[in-house]
Symmetry: D2
Subunit: 350 residues, 4 copies
């Protein structure tokens, strides 16, 4: 297989680290450049000693220079903050480099909504319309042809996969959906902050950003597309003392009288071509460790007959399926590779 | 202060352990008997080496003999499984021993509901009517005169304190309430089970018993009493990789147009005599570690203006406020002591 | 009891937080001032929401002003970095305020050693000679009369209590001692650092500062005093993914033919007046959770007959016995209070 | 590649689970049989839902029937308790099935020592002499020709790799070695025991089996072979609240005047053909997470010039390198495959 040169811009955070972990072992991509403003000058192994002995151990971490990166690479992964990503992405696209942007900059098709939730003016509104939302199960065919993929947020990945098929098929009522999500701490990033120190998080549990988390409009955009009507979601994120994983407990009313067997059938049919969405059997509920380090999205269904509510529980790995693994899956499609290439790891249990 | 003799029946589990921790340091009770079927013959320190050097270190763990216990004690704490507790409680009441039952046997006033959810016939239906539900903020005056107190479940303690005042004052809509709760692992008990081994729980997160947890009818009973009408709750428990703590995220629609300031005022007024319910200010959400080892119940309020939903977040320590500490608070009232006696520990942070 | 006014200078870190937790509930001290350079202007509850509802909830956090503090307080706890503490301590002593310094500034009697290990010149060498090393079991009578107490480091507290009696009585060989210590993460402080983020520490284990940790000369100073001869310790600290606790595994050769029963007798005799040092029986090894939140130091003894080595395992809570609780114990003695006043909490288990 | 049929006997524990995880993804082995006394009758996915969607999801878990297994398989992994394994192994060897035994039954060449430490008579003493100790870096050429490989214990794997080269080259003094090891909880197995419940282990730390752990004679056997003389090790295992990983802190005196650079050179030379032993540079100490889920053994060296002691810190993943991954590496050699086949995963970080 002829390898395609790839770069990671912004390698020091957890999504950068996870990109590197996946790309080093990837049979189709050759990781030729990694950049970091703060860590430039080190080798990749000096930055991440756990990569000693791998092919990329001596790769230099360089200061980000888009010209240089564009000269060497055909695919670039942007793991930089929102606001920074939009201009970088535009630059690379102009130089015919395919871009997977892990920031939020191109996820929302409505730039007014973007500015409202992120507090930043969008400077590349034209590109926003062109960018493809990178959820392979839903936008696979567009991703194949895309120049720029907006890689989904971690929470939206878990929630959209859980609700999209049911809303699309008219089996779920789009009104009054509640999503109560719980994330591991790596989702909060690798920047030094008191709030995510071990002793501020361990042996404890908390909610945060209730009713105002920035991933809300992203979920609403996609689920609205599924339902074919406007909808609002009550989204409540929580912080779990664990490294990786998101579990979303989704509360929704069925559109009519429906059994969970029927739902399972519909979901299995919807995801029949996806190697990663696993519909768990009756009586089995997902656990985040079952998807640790993988692209799997596990879905469990419970119908609460007393209240008539349907509960869909969704588990993903926030760093792999919720960020870097999904980015590589998108790059696979953009590069003409098999969707699963380099993404077949089994869950690390326990 | 003249001390009152107390016994713990069923000392080996986490609630028994927590009762002992509190009672040894209690100025009003003298812990004179602790029993266990499996550990009889040891001293308390052989069973729990962390109690070495305390007043009760040499207390013998005895095989449970109700006659003996009744002869020596005026108050008994039953930390035995449901089904076992009902007959024991009756025996002690007959012998004029005051009983705080930590099992579920006397929590549900409707024995049919009890049998439905617990799969056990109730053999002491008369006592069920007499038993007082041991939530001091709501039933304080009845507890003072009670012979038998049914100590609330851990989840219901967190949920009822969060929703009772709002429903009572007609500020919350009793329809369609959702409670998404998250508990530390000590809530699953101290019996040897593969499912709660460290490596089955650590660094992971899961839901369980969705729509069918036994604490559901208990919440409904009390919140129905508050609302003055029937209501059904969607209750979803989850397991957090932490030792202690419950956080309940409660979703409810306000009964009309209401601001969170007003809610805070109403709640503060309702709990004005309670030393333990803390209404957090706007913008602050509770964390389980803030109540670790204490009787506190911390409540945070968020109004999601986009969806019109009110979110009340409630945190307690499942072993202290959710079980043994509350049991001692009830015994304090039954014994004529100050409610807070022996229960003034500050949270252990971090 | 007439209360004595006390201040905590440097309240934002974990030792400051722990001092506040203990002092609020203390029957002899009145916490009248808490200071912080970065958090001045807040109330104590705004800084630490877990203190809501306590006596000190409205206490203002002020910018440190030694004059003001000295005017109001008779005892001051310094929870500021080494180097900063020395001048502050001198200022307070001059104004007749008793000082417990939790930094390292007055622990080492030899200022040359201090400068060697801490890289700071000592500006108050006179006070160094006067300061008393605050380990109550060993220097209790000097502490009673002290104006300035140098509160021991966390690791040294666990190690000195484990080895002092044996060396003092000539039962242990002072040559070739190895101390392999393991600490919870709160020992690394509350400053924002990538290295102690949850996801850098959780589900992992590491050693650090092998052979060069600054607590080494402190242990050697005290154990040399016990042995009556020079000695060198190999000291290896490690980081455990837990909040609180230190376990030190001490390897030492007995001075002659000795049984562990005899050692236990000697240690019990040495610590007969200490309410906190617990000599565990044969076959029982300490666990850090058994001392969580307390002043206990649990010691277990194993004689490895195959190698002739004695292993003494010591457990303390690094924040309570290893820092703030011990500081309060020292202040108790300085104030003429009972040693244990306000320090009788039982371990929080689990 | 022609695949070789393989079986896992005893699949329900953590080593069985890890074997399955590795073998399903292995390009050379076809996992055709998994057995369990307690779980026979289920499919592999019913037993381990995290394996849904993989090639082996429908594999039936069968009651162990050596005849059947021998008929279908060329390699068998025994993940059963010691005592049980010895006869099973003999049976398979007789039927020309190659055996990797993960129990302790064939690790000790001296059956008297085996009986002393394990309390079991050995019934297959002939096979003991034939079995090869399965540490590929040391016994690779024997393993290639072996019919029966005794897979090393987890602690010995970490310790022997750390000390063997230095002792072999005469750079380390074989007298007075101390090994202070710390293991994740998965090492304690998956059987339901109170002592390894989450709430007995989390947020705590303890030592156990000091001076009498069964892995001691195994280390001594191999290190004695390296040193060419008798030696005794003080071995102290501890339990870390994490899932996977072992860190061993090894204390040893250099045989003469030596620098760590020289040691690193000697170790690198010794391990020049091993893809997995990583000698960390000066100033870098290993962390268990850097080897999570992999075959890596990371070694860090510190010379404590004050005491003249050398400290070698060794990290492995106890389930992968310390058990199942190493078993597969041995099977690779026995099957004529490349040592690394199917064992190239990078560490899962964080």
């Amino acid at each position: 297989m002829k390898k395609i040169n790839a770069a990671v811009v912004g390698v020091t955070g957890y999504t950068g680290m996870e990109l590197v972990r996946i790309l080093i072992a990837h049979p189709g991509f050759d990781l030729v450049a990694v950049t970091s403003r703060s860590q430039a000058g080190k080798s990749l192994t000096e930055l991440f000693p756990f990569l000693a002995g791998t092919d990329a151990e001596m790769l230099p971490v360089t200061f980000p220079d888009p010209e240089l990166v564009a000269r060497d690479c055909h695919v670039v992964f942007l793991a930089v903050p929102h606001g920074t990503a939009m201009n970088m992405a535009a630059g690379f696209v102009n130089q015919k480099v395919k871009v997977v942007d892990l920031s939020a900059d191109f996820r929302l098709r409505d730039v007014k909504t973007y500015t409202e939730w992120y507090g930043v003016e969008h400077t590349r509104t034209g590109l926003v319309q062109e960018a493809v939302y990178g959820l392979p199960e839903i936008y696979g065919s567009e991703i194949v042809r895309a120049r720029l993929v907006a890689n989904p947020g971690c929470y939206p990945s878990s929630v959209i996969l859980a609700l999209y098929p049911g809303l699309k098929q008219g089996l779920l009522n789009p009104e009054g959906i509640i999503v109560d999500s719980k994330s591991g701490v790596s989702g909060a990033g690798r920047a030094a902050k008191t709030g995510t120190l071990f002793s501020e998080v361990a042996d404890s549990f908390r909610a945060y950003s209730l009713g105002r988390h920035r991933h809300t409009p992203e979920m609403e955009q996609e689920l609205c597309a599924a339902a074919g009507q406007e909808l609002r979601i009550s989204f409540s994120p929580h912080l779990v003392p664990m490294n990786r994983g998101i579990l979303s407990t989704c509360y929704v009313y069925p559109a009519g009288d429906i059994k969970t067997e029927r739902l399972r059938m519909v979901y299995k049919e919807f995801y029949r071509d996806s190697p990663w969405v696993r519909i768990l059997p009756e009586g089995v509920l997902p656990e985040t460790r079952w998807v640790r380090g993988t692209m799997y999205c596990d879905l469990g269904f419970v119908l609460d007959v007393r209240t008539g509510r349907l509960i869909i529980v969704s588990c993903i790995d926030n760093l792999c399926r919720g960020a870097s693994g999904q980015a590589v899956a998108n790059a696979n499609l953009m590069a003409g590779f098999d969707l699963e290439l380099g993404l077949k790891d089994l869950p690390l249990m326990p």
